[in-house]
Symmetry: C2
Subunit: 344 residues, 2 copies
Amino acid sequence: MQPPHQRKRSTGRVTLSDVARVAGVSPITVSRALRGERSVDPALVKRVTLASAELGYVPDPAARALASHRSNHVAILIPLLSNALFVDLLDAAQRTLKASGFQTLIGVTHYDQAQEEQLLREQLLHRPAGLLITGLEHNAATRDLMAQSQVPCVHLMDLPQRPDTDTPYCVGFRQTDAGAAMTRRLLARGRRRIAFAGAQLDPRVMQRLYGWRLALQEEGLYDLNLEWLNPAASSLALGASMFEQILGQSPPVDAIFFCNDDLAQGALLAALRLGIPVPERIAISGFNDLTGSDQMFPALTTVRTPRAKIGEAAATMLVGLIRGEAQPQPLIDLGFEIVEREST
Amino acid sequence: MQPPHQRKRSTGRVTLSDVARVAGVSPITVSRALRGERSVDPALVKRVTLASAELGYVPDPAARALASHRSNHVAILIPLLSNALFVDLLDAAQRTLKASGFQTLIGVTHYDQAQEEQLLREQLLHRPAGLLITGLEHNAATRDLMAQSQVPCVHLMDLPQRPDTDTPYCVGFRQTDAGAAMTRRLLARGRRRIAFAGAQLDPRVMQRLYGWRLALQEEGLYDLNLEWLNPAASSLALGASMFEQILGQSPPVDAIFFCNDDLAQGALLAALRLGIPVPERIAISGFNDLTGSDQMFPALTTVRTPRAKIGEAAATMLVGLIRGEAQPQPLIDLGFEIVEREST
DNA sequence: CTGAAAGCGCTTACAG
DNA sequence: CTGAAAGCGCTTACAG
């Protein structure tokens, strides 16, 4: 016989109260002990831990979220899933967050600030413990949402030009520097007419473009006609067609700096089809060192970007922020590396 | 002056009760009306909808999950994020689920059944509304967890050999048939010694292998020495090295069927480096029609697999199951298509 | 078709 | 350092 109403909605789940009963303390003490709050007698912590393990207790995330206004979800906003760059970021971040007990909620913005805002609104309903967001450029509503929500946030990939006291937390590298560095490398190898071929034209591509401009201007070799910008999504096929276009230009271009490796890979393959010798007739370089760039024929010279490290470091920083730990610095520059191979 | 304890933990959030007050009904009626439960007077539904819109009410997912034992999360378990195939699956599923109001929780199993089990355990704590899981082979504990949890589940990619009354919900295509079909195509083009080059050796690769075997056995051309299996992860570099190995075999192989396009792409690039004419000396075919296969030189013959459609159809089916709608059939075969290009 | 009561399983805010 | 009470914002189960 059960007392009336006693087990009305019982779910059979082991709860905090069950642990409390076994440990001989109050539920709130169990809560505190298990969350590792200090100000709990070490002896009690031990008893609670034992009882919890004995019963196989696992906290209910929903109840926790409802009571505390904070879930164990971390939202990550990336532009695309079809660019390996962002998948690497997601993979690394997700892995790191998981190790700290957080679940990753993905949002795909399609490089659209309105979609980004909408996604953020939805994510915020889940009271995420933290937020990982790509880039530093967002619309006003998005910025307001981030500020009002008080959710700890780390920006991925980009670093602000001039850090000041308002510098947000961010992990990435200097895109402009990377663009300039690759361009200088091409100059050092004797190239004079170096085209820049950009697709998508997101903020990071534009920064690489500025870097390229800067480097050419330093040498007095800048020419507006060397800028080939296409807002379409980056792809091998687009790289191939941009390559053919640029190849037809006169005076002839002697190098092309593609803003992303998939474009450059497409160009390399187009060169093969067309019988254009690379790097003899024209040098080709890419950006990001994506899968396959080292396998190309000729192997692709590119800029290796630390995207997995960025995902990992940003997630680590975010977990620190969530835990209220002071961060040594709001800005982590993970740098980049020029990888010279056969295509330049 | 506020009444004592009145706003003690108020969060400023618009709640169901606020809507109820404005609409002049009870909270539970608001709850029912907003969830579209029938058995609510249409006139009331209208008043509630209006009041809800006026106040900008949004349900709290955590409260909902706690009370109903069901969240609006859908967990998706995939082997890897580093294989474009699964990213396409994830992208499509995520998009479809989002449109139906579900959040996607990703789990990466690394082709490891123990990790899969562990992930499922964690995901289940979040009381997901549904589950999308890759493949049909799981360990006993995983199968038990799925059964006990009662969470609706759809399997991705694979279809059972012989469907029976216990057939789980699944969306995919017949891997074995696809393997056989490609092999027959190579045979029809006059190839006699067709090697199968497989990596990763997950269940789907093995099924393609069986298909290849079947097709060769039909013609009396099967030879164990034509099976090249490597448990390492699939990559361009591995494809290149497998290509070189197979090329050295005698009697000479006149075609290689790679179990994944990245391997085949790597082989094509290796052929270029080595100066081996494809398809004259040796034909090369791949599987999946991944990005870039159409751009290769020569362009790669492959099997186009409907992974985006699989992700979408599986998500749609899952949403139906979550809503308790009867499904016309537990099994959806989305087929495949042989794409003949220049490499065969 | 509608509602009052109870409950989901935690944490917050107060006390002591 | 510990606890009793209240509350988070919904839905379930029971009545009518």
